[in-house]
């Protein structure tokens, strides 16, 4: 008998995601998408014995409730939303047995933004262009989860549920520092603006979703010769920090557009974009200058 996850409540936004998304199609205008915190989803998959590439649930700011039709094992990672399995508490960062028909409920996480739920066997919706991820902008992949959504679960993997008590992860409390490589368009800004960018404490605004988040902080001035200039649109990647004429940066996340028309002052290191995906409105973030090593500098 095939197993299903039945959604009984969603918080602000719940989607199906996988870690890899849709690489290799950017020249068709199709972005990578996938989990905003890929590392957390991979950890959740490992905790239930899944392949790291399996699809799971990305839960923004808690609020998800679901039942499973067959007794299975789930794991919660990322933002530590309090979880209950029926009447019992369920711990994050460890495999949790969920009996058939029992409701699992996630509260509001005290820190971080996005929680990940892996179900043993993985969410087995049909892939679209090679991925089960929902791209909220391009409209690819399964629809955003709603009450009544039923999601198929794949067959249990051959690997067992690992014998771990708990696999803790780095906390999501306090100021986050992200490594950033200046460029490709740092030369559109004054030296003082680049220094300010790397020194300031930035606040994440309410303008935050899977595309990216806007930052509040000091204005970043362009050089006199670039003032008012227009950049022909060019390719951008996850982690790009784009600065529109207002001078207030936007950091791109999983569902960013394939190209952008504003200069990118710096790009967050790929590994650090996972933690960037955990920044909630009101959080403080700083940027630390990172360099592509001397040998790999173009």
């Amino acid at each position: 008998m095939s197993a299903w996850v039945e959604i009984t409540a969603t918080g602000p936004l719940c989607t199906v995601q996988d870690a890899a998304g849709r690489p290799g199609r950017a020249d068709l205008g199709i972005g990578v998408s996938g989990a905003a915190d890929r590392a957390a989803l991979r950890r959740a998959n490992r905790l239930v014995g899944n392949d790291e590439a399996a699809a799971g649930l990305e839960v923004t700011f808690g609020g998800l409730r679901f039942r499973v039709t067959t007794t299975t094992v789930v794991a919660l990672t990322g933002a530590p939303a309090p979880m209950t399995v029926g009447a019992r508490p369920g711990d994050p960062h460890r495999p949790v047995v969920v009996p058939a028909g029992t409701e699992v409920a996630l509260g509001t996480p005290p820190s971080g933004l996005r929680s990940y739920v892996a179900v043993r066997g993985g969410i087995a919706v049909d892939p679209v262009l090679g991925s089960r991820a929902t791209d909220t902008v391009a409209g690819l992949g399964p629809p955003v989860l709603a009450v009544g959504t039923e999601l198929p679960v794949g067959p249990p993997p051959s690997s067992p549920v690992p014998a771990v008590d708990v696999a803790p992860e780095a906390g999501l409390v306090g100021e986050l520092v992200l490594g950033v490589v200046p460029g490709p368009r740092h030369d559109w800004f004054t030296d003082a603006a680049l220094a300010t960018f790397l020194r300031a404490a930035w606040t994440v605004t309410e303008d935050a979703n899977r595309v990216g988040f806007r930052l509040e902080g000091p204005e970043l001035a362009r050089t006199a010769e670039r003032d008012g200039a227009e950049l022909p649109s060019e390719g951008v990647i996850r982690g790009s920090v784009q600065v529109p004429p207002s001078g207030r940066p936007t950091v791109f996340l999983a569902d960013h557009p394939v190209t952008g028309g504003y200069p990118v002052i710096g790009v967050v290191l790929d590994a650090d974009t996972d933690r960037a995906g955990q920044l909630r409105p009101g959080a403080t973030v700083r940027f630390r200058r990172a360099s592509v090593s001397e040998t790999s500098r173009p």
Binding site: A138, V181, P184, P232, P257
Partner: protein
């Protein structure tokens, strides 16, 4: 040809070129024989972005792009099948395009339908191709609209800058609209789902 290489984090490299033709040439050369580790190529108006699997791939990829500067002629082979797209030229911005170009409606139609266009690159939304005239005819160069429309219907044919394009799905948009087509440009049952992939050739036929 200037081919400046700019850093783009620890998994990207942005190659900057002088002309669209050079972009098309480099993209074609890289797409035909991608350097080891390259996962995505994003051609745009004056740049090609290379995204690599991991930071360890960057040095080799950068070296290969530099080496190819010496050998690549920087042009794309012309030729290949031409897709015909039937267009009804009754767009809301025909008068504005006429004012910008000095052409009347018939001359706009002739300039648009009278030549083969090539998809230079895609972007904005899945399936949206930026089409450039193969013969470089500059008569239809127009600025974007001063303000974007919140809703442009699927199939709308527009102009902006040096490009023409067809909206594959309903979306917001700021291009000058000159017509519409029923041609399905985005279909998830196909792979690739887009008709207007980089390098594809198109001729518009008035209905």
């Amino acid at each position: 040809m200037t081919r400046s290489l700019r850093p783009c984090g620890d998994t990207g490299l942005l190659v900057e070129l002088d002309t669209l033709a050079e972009v098309l040439g480099l993209h074609a050369a890289l797409a035909a024989d991608p350097p080891e580790g390259v996962v995505d190529l994003v051609p745009a108006a004056r740049t090609v972005l290379l995204r690599v699997r991991s930071a360890a791939d960057l040095p080799g990829v950068a070296q290969e792009v530099r080496d190819r500067r010496a050998t690549s002629p920087g042009t794309r082979e012309a030729g290949g099948e031409v897709t015909e797209i039937a267009v009804t030229y009754d767009g809301e911005d025909l008068d504005e395009v006429a004012a910008h170009t000095g052409l009347d409606h018939d001359e706009i139609l002739e300039a648009h339908a009278g030549r083969v266009w090539t998809v230079a690159f895609a972007g904005f939304t899945p399936g949206f191709g930026y089409l450039a005239p193969e013969d470089g005819d500059p008569r239809l160069h127009v600025p974007r609209r001063a303000s974007s429309r919140t809703r442009v219907p699927a199939g709308a044919v527009g102009l902006a800058g040096e490009f023409s394009g067809v909206y594959p799905r309903e979306s917001p948009g700021g291009w000058q609209l000159i017509g519409r087509t029923d041609h399905v440009l985005w279909d998830l049952e196909r792979d690739p789902p887009a008709v207007l992939v980089p390098g594809a050739r198109v001729r518009f036929r008035p209905t």
